[in-house]
Amino acid sequence: MRYAVLLYADADLDAGPGAKEWDQSLPQHQALGAALAEKGVEFSGGALHAIGSATSLRRRDEQLVHTDGPFAETKEQLWGYYNVEAPDVDTVIELVGGLWEVDHGTVEIRPLLPGPEEMAA
């Protein structure tokens, strides 16, 4: 199965290189990346720029509306994600359980629906 692992942290935190939290969380992400690569697990992921960098789009009355900022005001911001292949949810919990975000924010594990190619197969 394929899982999205969504990393949430305090909306007031400044994400990105140079921030204290970035330095604190980096070692665990590097360790996770190395562990996944070593096991030959298919994965991708990325860190997001701080929440202020977001542009939200919606079309209303045929007008494309741009909003400077996230789609909803929340106390926690999405600041990174993984897309990882795993046999079951326990494997994912085991893999990501040591991340900095588990201690200081929230990590949401969501199974991905099969993509169009897999549906056809």
Binding site: A86, D88, V89
Partner: protein, 424 residues
């Protein structure tokens, strides 16, 4: 077909399909085919194996192949095929794996309870809905949602790895204990004791103890529920009121269950890893095994609560310890322990604290203060609560020197709260 056997086949199919709803449907289909085939061909030598083969076909065959795999001719040849192959070894047991899936922490606790009763215990949805006083449609939705979550998020049907075992097993045992406490001291409905739920919890606890014979807490939980449940017949009188521990007719205790509990506890203790369920089981065995409330080893019970509080530092355990101290070392010592608890402002809003105080005061002959404490306890309970009925009965009886009740089990999965008293 006994529901236990049916549940075992559902467990096998759930492991194979990782989809409980699909497993249930497949087993249902197999049972229908059995109704057609068995009267004609006779009951197969291994009915469970026969049903498993048919359920497997029903679960996996697509619509096109279904006809040929499940037609009369195909079903007739199953017995021959089964006779040719040896009975498969099933390790680890599919029911154990199903149990860990049903009690997975990714599910809400009430979903874990409902799913365990439905899938592992094999109760029907209306039975569970009745037991928890929710509508059938609410419960059906809860079950369907939990089954979907297991399927869609890839909850594994597997016994956890050793390093995860203590935590995951605690979750499983907690669900069974919750089912037991709801039966033993019901929070809902008119009945004080719900034998059906007690019985299910006993069966589940036994099953887990059988499947995990080297897990001391699994044995401890089975011992605990059996030792408590052994007193069931004596705990409620004809009017539906709780009978105080010291007034219970001990000849009505179930000696077989108590013996079974002691045996399980001995085996658990031999594994030399104590835990909260084992300590509570030891306390429950001392209570149930004593010839009378007066001839109970209160000193050891107080010491066991001391051990328990080191493992589970909860206010409810401290309350039980205070009550046991009151029995072992006199009501004044008990009141002192209660004062220490109250000074920390713990449980002051809980009726059991005031019931315990009332009882200790009554034994000191301070009837007026005791009446006040009972009244305080009553204030803290909703009028229609079954415990409130017991309390009013006791309050009325205080003047005629009647004895207060002494048998409560806490709501928390790890703390069996027993408020006990010395007979008058």
């Amino acid at each position: 077909m006994a529901r236990r056997e049916r549940a075992a086949i559902v467990a096998t199919m759930a492991r194979e399909t990782r989809d409980i709803a699909r497993a249930e449907d497949a087993v249902q289909e197999a049972l229908l085919r059995a109704l057609e085939t068995w009267p004609r061909r006779g009951v197969p030598a291994r009915p469970g194996a026969w049903l498993t083969v048919v359920a497997r076909r029903a679960a996996w065959a697509d619509a096109r192949r279904r006809g040929t795999l499940l037609d009369a001719e195909a079903l007739d040849s199953i017995e021959l095929e089964l006779a040719a192959e040896p009975a498969p070894e099933r390790l680890p047991d599919p029911q154990l794996e199903l149990l860990f899936a049903c009690c997975h922490p990714a599910l809400a606790v009430e979903a874990q309870v409902a799913l365990t009763l439905r899938t592992v215990a094999g109760l029907r949805t209306p039975e569970i809905a009745r037991a928890f006083l929710v509508s059938e449609s609410t419960l059906a939705q809860r079950l369907a949602r939990a089954q979907r979550k297991i399927r869609d998020s890839g909850v594994p049907f597997a016994v956890p790895a050793p390093e995860r075992m203590p935590e995951r097993l605690a979750g499983v045992l907690g669900v069974v204990y919750l089912i037991f406490t709801e039966g033993h001291a019901s929070t809902s409905g008119p009945d004080r004791v719900r034998g059906d739920l007690c019985e299910e919890a006993v069966l589940l606890a036994r099953l887990i103890a059988t499947l995990l014979p080297s897990e001391p807490e699994a044995l401890g939980l089975a011992a605990l529920v059996l030792a408590h449940d052994a007193r069931r017949a004596a705990r409620v009188d004809d009017r539906g009121l709780t009978v105080p521990l010291d007034e219970q007719d001990r000849s009505r205790y179930d000696r077989k269950r108590l013996t079974e509990a002691s045996g399980l506890l001995d085996r658990a203790l031999a594994l030399a890893t104590p835990g909260p369920y084992q300590v509570q089981a030891a306390i429950a065995c001392l209570h149930t095994g004593a010839p009378s409330a007066a001839d109970t080893d209160w000193t050891q019970i107080a010491a066991l609560y001391e051990t328990l509080i080191a493992m589970v530092p909860s206010a409810m355990v401290a309350l039980n310890r205070a009550a046991a101290i009151g029995m072992a070392h006199g009501p004044e010592a008990g009141l002192a322990a209660l004062d220490r608890l109250q000074a920390r402002d713990e449980l002051t809003g809980h009726h059991l604290l005031h019931v315990t105080r009332a009882e200790l005061l009554r034994r000191l002959g301070r009837s007026e203060a005791a009446t006040e404490a009972y009244a305080r306890a009553l204030d803290l309970l909703p009028a229609q609560d079954s415990a409130a009925g017991d309390l009013r009965h006791r309050l009325a009886g205080l003047r005629s020197a009647d004895a207060p009740d002494g048998d409560e089990l806490s709501r928390t999965p790890v703390a069996a709260a027993r408020v006990v008293k010395r007979p008058t």
